[in-house]
């Protein structure tokens, strides 16, 4: 058991499951009861899944959870802007991309020797992962501040148009400026946090018994470790948001969304609160970008196409229910499921497509865009609240 890393996987999967179980248990029971119950449930569920399901399916599920969680962070950022404050940002890709590239530049080392001829970057600090995450959030926040100055005091459509513009501009810059981040070539070698857990010898700082447990993990099992990293950050972002949006600050945001004038008449500085919400949402998107970069190791401008770096996130929020953080996460997981699931469906239909036209099978991926766009229109027409919708009473002292 120790040698093949199963126990390590059980532990890595049990932690997020325990948190999930703890959150889903009724909150009226005391913490002393729910917390241990959550841990026991998580451990049990984790053991059962890993021993019962075939390993191929489990590792697919794990990489699915990583991607869906990264998108959940981005969707939570959008929820602060749109769901709570009504800010129409359709340039998520800009904050996503700048977060990803900032984190990459901060954590990598500048290329040396012969390698420097093939790869260029503005700087490389070789800083730890968490510094990269922090820097990603800060730069995305600064970008939001700059976009917000000319647009937030105007009608909503202006913000939307300006954010499309900033997303295109960001993408063009990362595509054309070689000196900045090696565009249009990918920026490679982005370090991965806690990588030593899957290396041999295992991280020296681990206590002895755990060294034995994690020693069994192979390099290809890294996605298990990253799942823990991503889900922990997702949980932290979620808890902070729940706390902030239920505070008086969050109440003002909703008041502004519902009726700007009456909020202003009650002495609230509307422009200031909108700016705060816009920046705060962008910071979270930047963090999401950072998580994305460290998962993919190598990133380039094409990762931040408006189709999957902006629209997909909008569909996630609208499907889950804007104004609801749990809805945002649920929407991200369900939409990512639909998005990846359709690949299999389209593969099944390949012979049919080939019978219609020989060109069609190669264009299979485009059917996903059709589906996603129909999904967005359908939600707006038939279920504007989304799956969960906003909760009526959310204020807690």
């Amino acid at each position: 058991m120790v040698t093949d890393g199963t126990l390590a996987k059980i532990i890595l999967l049990a932690l997020p499951l325990a948190f999930l179980a703890y959150r889903l248990l009724p909150q009226r029971f005391p913490l002393a009861l729910t917390l241990p119950a959550g841990i026991v449930l998580g451990a049990a569920l984790s053991t059962v899944t890993i021993t019962l399901l075939p390993p191929g399916i489990i590792s697919y599920v794990v990489s699915f959870v990583v991607m869906a969680s990264i998108y959940s962070v981005l969707t939570l950022g959008l929820n602060v802007q749109w769901g709570y404050t009504g800010l129409f940002n359709i340039g998520i890709a800009a904050f996503f991309a700048i977060g990803a590239f900032t984190s990459a530049l901060v954590t990598t080392l500048p290329p040396e020797g012969a390698f420097a001829q093939f790869s260029q970057q503005l700087f490389g600090l070789g800083a730890p992962f968490l510094i990269g995450v922090l820097a990603a959030g800060i730069t995305a926040g600064i970008l939001a501040f700059l976009v917000g100055i000319p647009t937030l005091r105007l009608r909503e459509d202006y913000l939307a148009i300006a954010t499309i513009g900033i997303a295109e501009l960001t993408r063009l810059i990362f595509q054309n400026e070689r000196w900045l981040a090696n565009g249009p070539q990918p920026l490679r070698g982005i370090p991965q946090p806690l990588k030593c857990l899957v290396e041999d010898p295992v991280c020296a700082w681990l206590p002895g018994p755990l060294q034995d447990v994690f020693g069994g993990l192979a390099a290809r099992d890294y996605v298990w470790v990253y799942m823990l990293v991503v889900t922990v950050i997702l949980a932290v972002v979620f808890l902070i948001l729940e706390r902030m949006l239920r505070s008086p600050w969050g109440r003002v945001l909703r008041a502004i969304r519902e009726d700007e004038e009456s909020a202003a008449m009650n002495g609230k500085d509307v422009a200031r609160f909108r700016m705060q919400a816009f920046i705060f949402g962008a910071v979270i998107m930047g963090v999401g970008g950072s998580l994305y970069a460290h998962y993919f190791i190598s990133i380039d401008y094409s990762h931040f196409d408006p189709l999957y770096a902006t629209f997909l996130i909008w569909v996630m929020l609208m499907l889950g229910g804007s104004g609801n953080n749990r809805g945002a996460i649920l929407g991200a997981f369900v939409t990512w499921g639909i998005w990846t699931g359709t690949t299999f469906v389209i593969d099944e239909f390949r012979p049919v497509l080939a019978a219609i036209s020989s060109d069609l099978p190669a264009r299979g991926p485009y059917f996903r865009f059709t589906l996603i766009s129909l999904l967005l229109i359908g939600i707006l027409l038939f279920r504007p609240r989304g799956m969960l919708g906003e909760e009526k009473e959310v204020t807690r002292p």
């Binding site: 148009i161 513009g165 909008w314």
Partner: protein, 350 residues
């Protein structure tokens, strides 16, 4: 408003604000934009002939953008929504013409142009189809949302879904590669203008066609009952309805005209450059920049805005990587939003 008794002198920043809001402000703003571009070309030492040549090309590009922008500004005015699908209507127009050209028998090229008479039929076909489809989307999506008194931002979001839907269908039908209306046909720059500037005859055709369409639009808006109703609805929808204007009919015609113009604009862009499924999306930013520069809802403003954006785009390519063309439109738009958000022709505070 109560006036403060102390210090009646306006602060300098206030003075600048008032100046920019005045009629003169629009002119100053335009001069500012062109001064920045001109200084940049002088610093780079761009020869005058290239500068003039780029300006001419910019006016042509502006003509193409104008057709899209006029439709977009009419829709913004009459329906009070931002139509993010407008760029993709342009792509749809280009691909509809491509479809028609593939189906029609290919004729001999007419005179110096690269296309035969079937191209004109294809242009008409594209305009009708896109106009009709634009109306269909309104009938089945936007009208339902309006009936439910949905916020205009949410309707704009639906238009984003429509944009993606149209583009994905183009991708499925034609793939993601470049296409040309007439593959392999040479398009030399044989037409000579003044100062030794040479352009392709097709480009003169495009410019002429843009002028014809703009005159037609002017005629519809100023000389027909429909145009009068459209202007009235754009000005004040409720007042228009109670004065007996059939606003549903106005909405229908607004979409049809807007869609047909977008279709024509897409065909013309495709003739000038090439066809790509995402061509319309890249043009969306210049379209909105023109509309905002020329004041939302003002078709003549959109025309002026489009010409300014077209020239700024082309001339800036003398000192900037041409890939940044749409970004130049974005920068102009940000300058406008900062100093004169009501656009060149808007009144202060509107």
């Amino acid at each position: 408003m109560t006036e403060t008794p102390v210090n009646l002198q306006p602060r300098p920043i206030e003075r600048i604000r008032t100046l920019m809001a005045s009629r003169l402000g629009g002119v100053i703003l335009l001069l500012m934009v062109f001064a920045i571009i001109l200084i940049a070309t002088l610093v780079k030492g761009v020869p005058t002939q290239q500068l003039v040549s780029l300006t001419v090309r910019g006016l042509m590009l502006g003509g193409i953008i104008a057709l899209g922008a006029i439709g977009l500004t009419l829709i913004s005015g009459v329906l009070k929504m931002a139509n993010f699908a407008h760029g993709d209507f342009m792509s749809l127009g280009a691909y509809m013409a491509l479809l028609a050209i593939a189906l029609l028998p290919t004729g001999q090229p007419m005179g110096p142009f690269s296309f035969g008479p079937e191209f004109l039929a294809a242009l008409l076909f594209a305009m009708l189809v896109v106009g009709f489809i634009a109306w269909l989307f309104d009938r089945f999506i936007y009208r339902r949302l309006r009936a439910r008194r949905t916020m205009s931002v949410v309707i704009a979001m639906a238009s984003l879904g429509v944009a993606l839907l149209v583009r994905s269908l183009i991708y499925i039908s034609w793939g993601g590669d470049f296409s040309f209306f007439y593959t392999g046909r040479a398009r030399p720059a044989t037409a000579e203008l003044f100062m030794g500037i040479r352009v392709r005859p097709d480009q003169l055709f495009i410019l002429g066609l843009a002028v014809v369409f703009i005159i037609m639009i002017w005629f519809v808006l100023e000389r027909t009952r429909l145009g009068k109703a459209m202007r009235a609805t754009a000005d004040n929808p409720d007042l228009a309805r109670i004065s007996g204007i059939n606003t549903d009919r106005v909405v229908m015609w607004t979409w049809f005209i807007g869609g047909a113009l977008a279709g024509a604009s897409g065909v013309m862009y495709g003739l000038d450059a090439q066809l790509r499924p995402e061509m319309g999306w890249f043009l969306l930013l210049p379209l909105f920049a023109s509309v905002i520069l020329g004041t939302l809802g003002n078709p003549y403003g959109a025309l002026v805005g489009a010409l300014v954006i077209g020239v700024a785009w082309q001339v800036s390519s003398a000192f900037l990587n041409p890939a940044y063309g749409p970004a130049v439109a974005f920068v102009v738009m940000i300058i406008v939003l900062l100093f004169r958000p009501q656009g060149l022709f808007g009144k202060a505070g509107s």
